[in-house]
C-alpha cells in the first residue's frame, strides 16, 4: 500500500503540492489528472523516492520512500531517460542486471508487441519508439507498483489506443498497481479503476471511476471540464 500523509512539497519559493493525503491500494489502475504544473509528476517522484516531501510522509509498503524504494517501484519518467550508448537489447540487459525482478521473457514479448528492433541504437530511435522502449523497460519489471509519468507522450495518436490496451495486458492486477499521469484522459479513461484529480497542488478529488458514473452520471473528461474550466 502507498500512503501519503499531509504531504507538501516546495521548490524554493514555489509550492508544488499542498497537504496531500492519499492511500493507494494494490490491484488498481489509477490515473492522476490535472492541469500542467498541478503537481502530478511531483506525486510520482515522491512515491518513487526520487524527491522528498518538504513536510509530511510518503511510505510504500510501510517503508519511507527514498531512492532505494525502487526495489518495489518501477518508475517511468516523462523525460527522455536513456543511456544513448546502448542498443535496445543492451538497455534491456542493463535493466535486467540492475533489477532482479526484470522479466526478460516478458520484456521480449513487449518488445515484439511494440515492434522495436533489438539491435537499433537508442540514439537512432524515433521519438515514438523511444516512448515504446521506456514503456517496455518499465512494464517488464515484476514489482507491486508501476508508476508512469505521461507514458503516451511522443506516441503517434493512431497507435495510442492499441498500445494502452497492450500495456494493460502486461499488468497483473492481482499483485500490481499501475499509477499513471496523462493528458490524454479520453484514451486512458476506459482502463482506469480510480482517478486522482489535482488542482494547484491540492487534492481535488479521489474517486473510483464507477462511483463517479453512479453519483454524478458523467465520465472523467466531462467531470474535468466542469471542475477545471
Amino acid at each position: 500500500m502507498i500512503q501519503m500523509t499531509n504531504v507538501s512539497k516546495k521548490y524554493m519559493n514555489h509550492s508544488a503540492l499542498h497537504e496531500i493525503s492519499l492511500t493507494l491500494p494494490i490491484g488498481k489502475i489509477i490515473g492522476i489528472v490535472g492541469e500542467n504544473g498541478s503537481g502530478k509528476s511531483t506525486i510520482l517522484k515522491l512515491i518513487s523516492g526520487l524527491s522528498y516531501p518538504t513536510s509530511g510522509t510518503v511510505t510504500v509498503n510501510g517503508v519511507t520512500a527514498n531512492r532505494r524504494i525502487s526495489k518495489v517501484v518501477s518508475y517511468l519518467s516523462e523525460l527522455d531517460s536513456f543511456y544513448y550508448i546502448f542498443t535496445v537489447n543492451q538497455a534491456m540487459d542493463f535493466q535486467a542486471s540492475q533489477f532482479p525482478d526484470f522479466n526478460l521473457s516478458k520484456a521480449g514479448e513487449i518488445m515484439k508487441f511494440m515492434q522495436l528492433e533489438p539491435q537499433m541504437k537508442i540514439k537512432d530511435l524515433s521519438k515514438g519508439n523511444r516512448a515504446r522502449l521506456k514503456i517496455m523497460l518499465t512494464l517488464a519489471r515484476e514489482v507491486p507498483y508501476i508508476l508512469m509519468d505521461e507514458p503516451l507522450s511522443g506516441l503517434d495518436p493512431m497507435v495510442r489506443e492499441s498500445i494502452v490496451k497492450g500495456m494493460i495486458s502486461y499488468i497483473d492486477l492481482e499483485s500490481q498497481t499501475l499509477i499513471m499521469t496523462s493528458h490524454e484522459i479520453a484514451e486512458i479513461e476506459p482502463l482506469l479503476d480510480c482517478f486522482i484529480a489535482i488542482k494547484g497542488g491540492a487534492l481535488l478529488k479521489m474517486i473510483d471511476v464507477e462511483k463517479l458514473h453512479e453519483s454524478e452520471g458523467q465520465g472523467i473528461t466531462s467531470w474535468m471540464k466542469k471542475n477545471y474550466v
Partner: protein, 249 residues
C-alpha cells in the same frame, strides 16, 4: 552473486560513458611520446628530453577527477535514470572511481612502457641515474594514482553537494561548492600545522634518497597516509549518504 553482476554491469556502463575520452587520452600520450623523441633528437644526451613525458605523467593527477566529472555530467542530464536503482549509492559511486582507476593505470602503463622503449637506446648515459630513476618512478606513479583517486572522491562530494542544493537555493549552490572547497582546505591546513597533527601522523617514517639527483632526501610517514585515507573514506561515505537521502530530481 546478483550484487556482483549488477555492479559489473554498472562498471561496464561507466566505461562506455567515458571510453571516447579514454581513447583520446591514449592518443595524447602517444603525441607526448613523439614530442619526447623529437626533444631527444634536438637536445641529445640530456635528461631534458624526458620533460614532455614528465609533464604527461604529472597531468595524470587530474585523470580520475576528469573521468568522474564527465561521467557524472552525463548522469546529471537524466538523474532519475541513475538514481532509480536499488543499489546503494556507494556502489554507484565506487563504479565511477574504479572505472577511472583502471583507465589511469592503463594510461600510465602505456607511458611507462613507451618511456622504457625510449630509454633503451640511451641506456649508456642514463646508467648513472638508473637506480634513482627507478626509485623515483616507484614513488611517483603510485602517488599520482592515489592523489588522482583522492581528488576524484572530492569531485564526487562537491557534485553531490551541488545536486543537493540546486533545488533549494538554485544558482547559489555554486557558492556552496566554492565554500566547500575553500573552508575545509583552510581548516585542514590550520590543523596540519599543529603539533597534535604531527604527533598523530609522524610515525612509520620512510626516507627516500636520490644521490644522483642532488636533492635532499624525501621523508614520508605511514601516519600521513592513514590520515588521508580516513578523510577520503569519510568523504566517500558522506557523499553516498547525501545521494541516498538528499539528492532529488
Amino acid at each position: 552473486m546478483n550484487g556482483m553482476r549488477a555492479w559489473a554491469a554498472l562498471l561496464k556502463k561507466d566505461f562506455k560513458l567515458t571510453r571516447t575520452i579514454f581513447f583520446v587520452g591514449l592518443v595524447i600520450n602517444l603525441l607526448f611520446v613523439m614530442l619526447t623523441m623529437y626533444v631527444g633528437k634536438i637536445a641529445d644526451n640530456t635528461l631534458l628530453m624526458f620533460i614532455p613525458l614528465g609533464v604527461a605523467i604529472v597531468f595524470h593527477i587530474f585523470y580520475i577527477p576528469m573521468m568522474v566529472f564527465i561521467s557524472l555530467k552525463t548522469e546529471a542530464n537524466q538523474l532519475h535514470l541513475w538514481l532509480h536503482n536499488p543499489q546503494p549509492a556507494s556502489r554507484l559511486l565506487l563504479s565511477k572511481i574504479v572505472n577511472g582507476l583502471i583507465m589511469v593505470i592503463i594510461s600510465l602503463l602505456m607511458l611507462y612502457v613507451m618511456s622504457g622503449l625510449l630509454i633503451e637506446p640511451k641506456s649508456s648515459f642514463i646508467e648513472p641515474y638508473w637506480a634513482d630513476i627507478w626509485t623515483s618512478g616507484l614513488l611517483i606513479f603510485p602517488h599520482i594514482i592515489i592523489l588522482s583517486a583522492m581528488i576524484g572522491v572530492c569531485v564526487l562530494f562537491l557534485w553531490s553537494l551541488f545536486q543537493f542544493y540546486k533545488f533549494r537555493i538554485g544558482r547559489w549552490s555554486w557558492l556552496v561548492v566554492i565554500g566547500a572547497i575553500v573552508i575545509p582546505n583552510w581548516v585542514t591546513s590550520l590543523f596540519e600545522s599543529t603539533s597534535l597533527y604531527r604527533l598523530g601522523t609522524n610515525w612509520g617514517g620512510i626516507t627516500y634518497n636520490f644521490p644522483s639527483f642532488s636533492i635532499a632526501p624525501i621523508q614520508i610517514y605511514t601516519g600521513e597516509y592513514l590520515y588521508n585515507f580516513v578523510i577520503i573514506i569519510g568523504l566517500f561515505i558522506l557523499t553516498a549518504w547525501i545521494i541516498d537521502n538528499k539528492v532529488e530530481v
